[in-house]
Symmetry: D2
Subunit: 366 residues, 4 copies
Amino acid sequence: MAGSTYGTIFKITTWGESHGKALGVVIDGCPAGLALNEADIQCYLDRRKPGASNIATPRKEADSVEILSGVFEGRTTGTPISLIVHNTSQISKDYSEIASYYRPGHADYTFDSKYGFRDYRGGGRSSGRETIGRVAAGAIACKILLSLGITVCAYTRSIGPIEADLSKFDPQAILNTPTAMPDLSADKAARDYLETIKQETDSAGGCMECIVEGMPAGIGDPVFEKLDANLAKAIMSIGAVKAVEIGDGHQVAARRGHENNDAFRMEDGVVKKATNHGGGISGGISDGDAIVLRAYVKPTPSIFRTQQTVNQSGEEISINIKGRHDPIIVPRAVVVMECMTAITILDALLINMSAKMDSIVSFYHK
Amino acid sequence: MAGSTYGTIFKITTWGESHGKALGVVIDGCPAGLALNEADIQCYLDRRKPGASNIATPRKEADSVEILSGVFEGRTTGTPISLIVHNTSQISKDYSEIASYYRPGHADYTFDSKYGFRDYRGGGRSSGRETIGRVAAGAIACKILLSLGITVCAYTRSIGPIEADLSKFDPQAILNTPTAMPDLSADKAARDYLETIKQETDSAGGCMECIVEGMPAGIGDPVFEKLDANLAKAIMSIGAVKAVEIGDGHQVAARRGHENNDAFRMEDGVVKKATNHGGGISGGISDGDAIVLRAYVKPTPSIFRTQQTVNQSGEEISINIKGRHDPIIVPRAVVVMECMTAITILDALLINMSAKMDSIVSFYHK
Amino acid sequence: MAGSTYGTIFKITTWGESHGKALGVVIDGCPAGLALNEADIQCYLDRRKPGASNIATPRKEADSVEILSGVFEGRTTGTPISLIVHNTSQISKDYSEIASYYRPGHADYTFDSKYGFRDYRGGGRSSGRETIGRVAAGAIACKILLSLGITVCAYTRSIGPIEADLSKFDPQAILNTPTAMPDLSADKAARDYLETIKQETDSAGGCMECIVEGMPAGIGDPVFEKLDANLAKAIMSIGAVKAVEIGDGHQVAARRGHENNDAFRMEDGVVKKATNHGGGISGGISDGDAIVLRAYVKPTPSIFRTQQTVNQSGEEISINIKGRHDPIIVPRAVVVMECMTAITILDALLINMSAKMDSIVSFYHK
Amino acid sequence: MAGSTYGTIFKITTWGESHGKALGVVIDGCPAGLALNEADIQCYLDRRKPGASNIATPRKEADSVEILSGVFEGRTTGTPISLIVHNTSQISKDYSEIASYYRPGHADYTFDSKYGFRDYRGGGRSSGRETIGRVAAGAIACKILLSLGITVCAYTRSIGPIEADLSKFDPQAILNTPTAMPDLSADKAARDYLETIKQETDSAGGCMECIVEGMPAGIGDPVFEKLDANLAKAIMSIGAVKAVEIGDGHQVAARRGHENNDAFRMEDGVVKKATNHGGGISGGISDGDAIVLRAYVKPTPSIFRTQQTVNQSGEEISINIKGRHDPIIVPRAVVVMECMTAITILDALLINMSAKMDSIVSFYHK
């Protein structure tokens, strides 16, 4: 099955493995006339690069993107945009050990079950490097959204027990701290925590949050193509995410109706809400308020202590994973969440253009 | 946009509004040769019917299903199965008031924003009655899964502060209690709680859980069509669901790697896991263990106390909603979760048949 | 596989068999705000009804359509429109004979090969009655296109050796003659021809043509979603069609370039073409000229003379088909061609709204 | 809209323009375990290369394919296969003239109408070089089909007035003659004809035919996903094709039923047909006989004589096209037809695996 294609009108197809020649993405259905160059995309890719700090893996990955098609004289032509990132730092090491057994928390066993064998080098297609294509495509989606006055911003909400204090929200901190937290003191505490975790040859989980601002009301579709349903799929498709929520999320289960309902009110002649427990979506359709999403991410499964597992011969064995692995996935996944959200939101906006007869008639009679 | 179609091979299209003539579903891509009659479907529809107890709305809805096509001499033919449920108890009442304003927590405002107007009778397409088509189709998916040795079972995990004790798991209780809880003492406590809530003209949220057993390893696809991503979409598309999680879900964010990894071990010559924190899916592909899902549901937004909102003229007003409304959504949504899970799992199984060259060659050379 | 769904934004799903309880269609993605009632649809269904003349089968089929959902206070709501036509004249006759063998030119053998068995009553899903859903949906597409100034008109171009003379084109004749020819003298000649054919217990083939006028330039997509490619699929999916062509069609194979190129010229400040060999589409995208399609239809396979075939036991047998069958398919298929063309054109128009950044920015900033 | 993706399970996404950096294709959903290397693909690409004779353009295009992902240790892994062909011979010439006007018979005007501007270098995305991705993907589809005992073979049926005599069918001639005709004497006559055409600064049309042998019965789906409907779309999506037909095609319109019906008969215990007017498909489903398709291709629109057109300023002008252009499209399009047919057939085979309950139960219980 073609699992590497996402979107209806703004459709992306990613490809590539951790240790193959290259990774990339084809974006088809990008509207014509968008000013676009490699720098627009590179700055997003740089946010998912490792090596920025001592909490990330010390691998050096240049991850330079090249536009191969779909842009002419600096503008998108409406035809497929092919983007490629060559793998440069993948070392030819001995994989015979890792090839023979199933690492706990990784997709080794499930890939073998499905396909009969797997590209075991660095996780192959199930590696976090798979997200390069998502981020490259998402950079374009973000640029289009910006021209519509819509911003998408994701950040680390918590790392292990350390939670960002949103009353100290500092957007620059997201880009400048190694934790991608929007709160400098939480970032400091989280780095200390991660240092301890590393010394204990362990890893940590965390939570990331994404806010969409400037969203018009009326976007998304009822029933199966609800905007929140598509966002849930988009975010849950990011490796290591185990829970997705919108607005107040899992906390609503313990609420009463009078606490959870968002009262409508008027502000400058526009319908607004007094609160935003719903997270900006009602009945699957945006209500004009900020869209608020959260994703809970498991700890990095590769830890540097002895673990129990089985090998391909069906023997129970003890293993010690080697290599370069971040003790936490969240900080590098934040930009992936931002990009998957942007792609989903943009696709819904494009689809929505044909929702009303009035719009269609005026579009074609203009 | 066509938001009412779901699935790739086993594809369902639902239709109908709360107070229209009828609701229904077309199931296309159902394999040929399945024994099927209306009773197979009716027993699932009966589980979502209101009126079973004093915690559900006192409306009487027969919701009798009729098979209009796709079944011949008691077996599915492989062509579309059209199922219809006629609306019989929808009263012609005066909707002029509800038509003029936006109920907090409902999709009135977002439908108006998207489409310019709405069918305001009983929520129209955004009503919970929309799920009739999902459940009718899901009954068929469940029957097919059963013939493959796969069972899907959903139940109420919590209502407000009352949580089911799974050590007292009683599968009959799910079907026989008004709360759909698998624990008789929690059911009793929850009913008492709901009685209090009702007297306080309020409503309650809750959590539902779904377990898939008998699942083979190797089902689902990497990247965007991960099995958990599709399940997240399927479950989040159910009205009032605000969070979806797999396995240990949002709790993984506070975990350490050594606590969260599921060690592999051998059992009777088969690869198994010592724990199931991952919820039966790794890298988007099933690992042969039970699949565990959870959904968090907001309190019923229709509460019988004064609320603040705005009307279509842009005036801030106070409203008092009347009518028949459950104080909790969860018990009737449990079967919807079960059905959406079944449809998603089945579709993944059908798609998976062409994953390996070996399988294809032996299929066509048989 | 779900073969009964067609379209991307304006998406239709048809269901029903020749001798089942009913047939119908769900139209999802129809824009909101279109004035619509049953009469808008019935007039199209009436054009595919038999019994209008002695060249058509003497069956009486009321084929009255009922709108079950998606229309409120006379306008489409943007949610799925479910249409149903009850089967009323299907006689319970003895099908044991037809059930046991494979009629030449019919899909009996291929359905058995695919599904293991079939609904043999009147052809089941492979019956021409399957087109009821297409025509009901197409009536809505035609109404939307009309509001955009686009007309779709199909007619019989030839029956056996009798060809319509387009210099005598009379649009009323299409609706008023039993042959659906736009030329009264050709209609007369064709009826005489068909009378002879019937007396010889034989049947005739023919050609139908469809013209789309008022089409804006720029509609359709390059590569796989070319407008002519989608039209070819739409028309070839009509039972008994064996060839589809655009513009001058198969005749271009014998042409030279200087004869076949359409020179551009200016007319009242608008780009026009001196000729229309291309049939209004170039590179898969409309050029603003009339779109011209042709479909070649095989003779009715049910003929009232002895034929050789095999039965389900693998014995070679002689058969004599009984029942009610038109000696020609074309006149009743003309409206189906018109409807499939309209649905395809409309979907392309809706998809096209997001082709350019300019359009998107002005749509959302208005 | 994403017009560059084709297929449901075996899904291809092509990208690239005539004079961009590269062209390529991503094949997603290719079954795991297929032995595959670049040579398997290169031999198909070589068949669409120009420069093989004096009837083709004298451009030299290496068109060497490189596998970037999805193949590990010589076998497909089930994840996306990314293939790239770098553009090497595209000369930087002055395109200012061609940029300013609309060439008759080309997609210049329609691209400008749709997108507002176009990549005018060598036709951009509407160039015949777009088919590189189709052929590279088709080579893989053909290899899989071969392992199922299915062969797909396309050839030139006619060039201008010269028709191949199929009684002299020589499969080697298809690969060895510059016309791709399966008849050496017709090849000779056609080459003479094309020489004359070139001297007259003109171009010629032609017809290509494709035969699929070894096809099992029962493949394809009723109604909209008929196998012939999908083939019609696949073939009509090839640039310059103006008509597509199956079996006896447009000739059936002049036939009588008794001439056109294919009688069933038994052969070695298997159901066969006495004739194959239907072209191996009935009711949209394969009948086990050879599938026979034909496509009619217009003459090359670029001819070296003065033509009338308009420029972007809306002025009527005379132009003389320069450059390197084949006087006939057909011989190089034959392999494209073969590949599009193979991709379509393969996808239908993969989809068909879940048609019957029996098959599904035995697949998962094995």
